[in-house]
């Protein structure tokens, strides 16, 4: 499955961008999975599984800066856009399609396939 054939009903309204602090994150629970939804200083939103590829640290609890989040456990820096670890570290966390409609945030609960293919 990819973004084009995705079930359009999978888009869910999860709340308003005002519910997330600027340079902060909130979590969305989907059964066993926790998805962290990030808001950057310039009001873009991103969604990643709330698990660092290193040791599953909760990325939602990290410091958000310049399109990245620093994991609170061991300071890995993860790209919000791709979910990939930056710098010398290697690994990728699942990312989810998310979009803004006005102030409303819509999240697709189906993760993106690996990007950059």
């Amino acid at each position: 499955m990819n973004a084009l054939t995705r079930d359009t009903n999978a888009w869910r309204l999860i709340g308003s961008i005002d519910d997330i602090p600027s340079q902060g994150a909130r979590c969305v629970k989907n059964g066993e999975t926790t998805i962290a939804v990030f808001r950057t200083a310039d009001d873009r939103v991103f969604a990643l599984e709330d698990k660092c590829p290193h040791k599953n640290g909760p990325l939602s609890q990290g410091i958000v800066h310049d399109g990245c989040v620093t994991c609170p456990l061991h300071n890995w820096v993860i790209s919000l856009e791709t979910g990939a670890a930056t710098g010398a570290d290697e690994g990728r966390t699942a990312s989810f399609p998310v979009r803004l409609d006005g102030r409303d945030i819509y999240l697709n609960l189906e993760p993106n396939l690996e990007m950059g293919a």
Binding site: T8, N9, W11, R12, L13, I14, G15, D19, I20, P21, S22, Q23, G24, R26, C27, V28, K29, N30, G31, T34, V37, T40, A41, K55, N56, G57, P58, Q61, G62, I63, V64, H65, D66, T70, P72, L73, N75, V77, D101, Y106, L107, L109
Partner: protein, 825 residues
């Protein structure tokens, strides 16, 4: 042979340097007596501007401290102006009647600022810009606010204007000539400079002729010839200096514009030398430091023996010491029919350079903006080299000359000849630095400064000196303090200083003004900046939660599985059955997996789910328990023993004092965690000697120790001193914490801070100087007003609710109310 007597009148930079050379060449030749009209030791006068702007303190610019005078057996009469020289009897007499006989005399009376004798020039509030007293006067005026009028748009006037502006005053510069700094800059560069100053909010009026200074009892304004009246609470006159020659004239020495000397710096009396701004050699007087230092060296050589040393005139480059303004000028840049100009302008970058040629030789250069090539032009000027072959590329700078030198600063320095001057202030050439590094095995910038003086004055050549070090030492050269993080090259110390000096009060302001390289910082610099701002502007700065590490944001410690640990405060390690019962109930109610006793005499509840935190805290609050800040870069615990209450060896109520300290200090944010202990006797059961601050009770009072560490690094404490009362212990602990709060680098523990600033410095400021201790203490008390509130109860009552609740929940049977499911459009 008995020592000769050398008397020096004046204690400025030139005689200070003279003595350094003299002690090096002939350490035992003279008994030295100095008369200093200023009541202090020798300091770096050219660094007054950074003191005014707040980028440095007076202590930073002292050249010779008390110890230096003592070490060389110098008699220093401070605040003692010399009133007469009896050349017959060879005796100097001071204002209070002190006399000193000499075999050799050095007159280094310097210069006096020129005060324009307009009406009102004697009113209080009219200052010159010459010594530390003037700077103090300006700082007092800046505290009161209002407008400062600076008369004189030369080097000193503009530095004063920028300094006063950075201290928060409105500033107007009045300059008689049509463009600023006309002696050092051509009109084009003067225009760029004026534009830059105006963009910083400094009003500049060129062609302004002062008619009178207005005011009844003190300065109220300035009236110009054209009738304009400018309100002012401070007037700074920086229109020039005149050599101070009165004393020499009265003694019958030959005096022109200055005290006339030969090329050996000897006056018309062969036993009397003169150096510094008061001296006139070959018809010229000087005001910049480099030629003054040359005079000092020449005179020292003649004083230490027979010498051929002679003063030679050299063009001295000019730089303006205003942060962020780069200009460089050297030599002669007047127009003339036999002269050629080569000009390069880059309007977009606000940069300008002009090289003046005569007979294919460089005779002057003016650079504004990108000034890196200034030194190279100066070298061409000094060597008098024929530049016709590089005429076409000359203006682009050294990097564009042949030999394949790329635009690499290291390569440019590598290309300099050995006699290329690196440090203009001290006249130190590249070869001398390389030689010192090789011969003395120098590896740090500090050592190079100590041995060669290169970059030890105004410091603008620091980068060049480092480049020379890098070239000489290769990979073994570890560069000085690194930037805080990848977002800036500035180190923590510079950032802290500039936050205060420039009055920066928000993270975006710091990033903008200090030219951060990233748009919003990173996880390293943001928490540091948040702390610095919180510490420097108590009550004004609003804590940025998103720049705090998660533990400080949610007031609990994150664990490896994403759960949290909760540690309630137990004052001084004391608890009660009620508190223990409440803790036990919380553990049962929230199924908290582990309960642990900590090293700091607290109880740790491990494995609490984030969503449960507010409810856990609510129950703990209900039993009177508050946050233990076990997560904080702040006061953690005050560990105690039972002391005289129970222990048969206890000398004082260590538990009670521990509780008092904890109640006083809790809630304050510090650069890194702070742990205390109070132990009731030297047996030290509370382990006070490895804490950040420890108190050891003894029969006669309280011994205070600090700077201990027992983590990655193990270090015993250093003794601060012994005091008699609990009140003194509390005041000292608070004052020391505040000093650390103001000076520490983020994540730097007290022991590292004290290692860096020096234990003597801390002791002097906190134990010995009662006034300084009190001032730190009061600033701590003020800051506590804004930080002593229990973060748990705040969150129980709803602060930061969003932190603890999911935004939405899907896929559970509970049908959560927050979840909305809507089809896309």
């Amino acid at each position: 042979m008995s020592k000769q007597r050398l008397v020096i009148i004046g204690n400025g930079m030139a005689p200070g340097r003279l003595l350094e050379h003299l002690f090096e060449a002939a350490p035992d030749a003279y008994d030295v007596t100095i008369f200093n009209a200023e009541p202090r030791v020798n300091y770096d006068r050219i660094m007054l501007s950074p003191v005014l702007s707040g980028e440095k303190t007076f202590e930073d610019i002292i050249i010779h401290g008390d110890a230096w005078y003592e070490g060389h057996g110098i008699t220093l009469h401070r605040g003692e102006k010399v009133t007469g020289i009896d050349r017959e009897a060879r005796i100097v007499t001071g204002a209070s009647g002190i006399t000193a006989a000499y075999d050799k005399l050095v007159i280094a009376t310097g210069s006096s600022p020129f005060i324009i004798p307009v009406p009102g020039h004697k009113l209080p509030g009219v200052l010159a810009y010459r010594d530390l007293d003037d700077v103090d006067g300006m700082l007092r005026a800046a505290d009161r606010g209002g407008r400062a009028v600076v008369i004189g748009g030369g080097l000193l006037g503009l530095e004063a204007a920028a300094g006063l502006k950075s201290r928060g005053m409105d500033v107007t510069v009045l300059h008689l000539m049509p463009t600023l700094m006309e002696r050092q800059l051509d009109p084009a560069a003067g225009y760029l400079l004026q534009k830059e100053l105006e963009s910083r909010g400094i009003e500049v009026r060129c062609g302004a002729n002062t008619k009178a200074i207005l005011g009844e009892r003190e300065v109220e304004g300035v009236e110009l010839e054209d009738g304009t009246i400018i309100d002012a609470s401070l007037v700074v006159m920086a229109v020039g200096i005149r050599p101070a020659v009165d004393l020499a004239r009265e003694a019958g020495l030959e005096v022109g514009r200055g005290i006339q000397t030969d090329f050996a710096m000897r006056t018309s009396d062969p036993d009397i030398f003169s150096v510094g701004e008061c001296a006139e050699v070959d018809g010229r007087v000087y005001g910049l430091v480099a030629p003054l230092y040359q005079m000092a060296k020449v005179a020292a050589e003649h004083l230490s023996g027979v010498s051929e040393a002679a003063f030679t005139h050299a063009e001295t480059p000019t730089k303006l010491k205003v942060t962020g303004i780069n200009l460089y000028s050297v030599g002669d840049f007047g127009d003339g029919p036999d002269r050629e100009d080569v000009v390069l302008r880059d309007a977009a970058r606000g940069s300008y350079r002009r090289v003046i040629l005569q007979d294919n030789r460089v005779i002057g250069a003016v650079l504004y903006g990108d000034v890196a090539d200034g030194m190279w032009y100066n070298e061409l000027l000094k060597s008098g080299e024929d530049v016709s072959k590089m005429r076409d590329t000359l203006i682009f700078g050294q990097a564009h000359q042949g030999g394949g030198v790329a635009a690499d600063p290291l390569a440019a320095v590598a290309n300099l000849s050995d006699d290329a001057e690196i440090c203009g202030c001290n006249g130190i050439c590249k070869g001398k630095i390389v030689q010192a590094i090789n011969e003395k095995g120098l590896t740090s910038l500090g050592e190079v400064r100590a041995h060669t003086k290169a970059s030890a004055s105004c410091g603008t050549c620091t980068g060049l000196v480092e480049a020379v070090m890098a070239l000489t030492l290769g990979d073994t050269f570890a560069k000085k303090a690194e930037g805080m993080c990848g977002c800036t090259d500035l180190g923590h110390g510079e950032v802290r200083r500039l936050i205060k000096a420039q009055g920066l009060k928000s993270i975006p302001a710091v990033m903008q003004e200090l030219e951060w390289k990233s748009s919003h910082g990173c996880a390293k610099c943001r928490p540091a900046l948040n702390y610095y701002l919180l510490s420097d502007w108590p009550g004004e700065y609003k804590d940025d939660q998103q720049s705090r590490f998660i533990n400080e944001r949610v007031h609990a410690n994150i664990q490896k599985d994403g759960t949290y640990s909760v540690v309630p405060r137990m004052w001084g390690g004391m608890t009660s059955s009620d508190e223990l019962r409440a803790i036990a109930d919380v553990v049962d109610k929230f199924a908290i997996p582990d309960v642990k006793v900590t090293g700091g005499q607290r109880i740790d509840l491990l494995g609490v789910k984030k969503a449960d935190l507010p409810a856990v805290w609510a129950d703990l609050n209900a039993a009177g328990l508050v946050s233990g800040h076990a997560y904080a870069k702040g006061l953690r615990t005050v560990k105690t023993c039972v002391g005289s209450t129970w222990c048969r060896f206890g000398t004082q109520d260590s538990t009670g004092l521990g509780i008092k300290l904890e109640k006083f200090l809790w809630g304050s944010w510090t650069p890194a965690k702070v742990k205390l202990a109070v132990t009731g006797c030297p047996r030290n059961c509370a382990e006070a000697t490895c804490k950040d601050i420890g108190v050891i009770c003894v029969e006669s009072g309280y011994e205070i120790v600090y700077g201990g560490a027992a983590g990655l690094h193990i270090q015993g404490t250093t003794k601060l001193g012994t005091v008699a009362t609990e009140e003194e212990v509390i005041e000292i602990a608070a004052a020391m914490t505040q000093m650390y709060r103001e000076q520490g680098f983020y994540l730097e523990r007290i022991y590292k801070w004290a290692d860096r600033v020096g234990y003597d410095t801390v002791k002097a400021a906190i134990l010995d100087d009662l006034e300084s201790r009190r001032a730190y203490y009061e600033r701590f008390v003020l800051s506590q007003k804004f930080s002593q509130s229990d973060p748990w109860s705040e969150r129980v009552s709803g602060v930061d609710k969003h932190e603890f609740k999911p935004l939405a929940v899907f896929g559970e049977d509970l049908a959560p109310a927050t979840a909305k499911v809507e089809p896309a459009e």
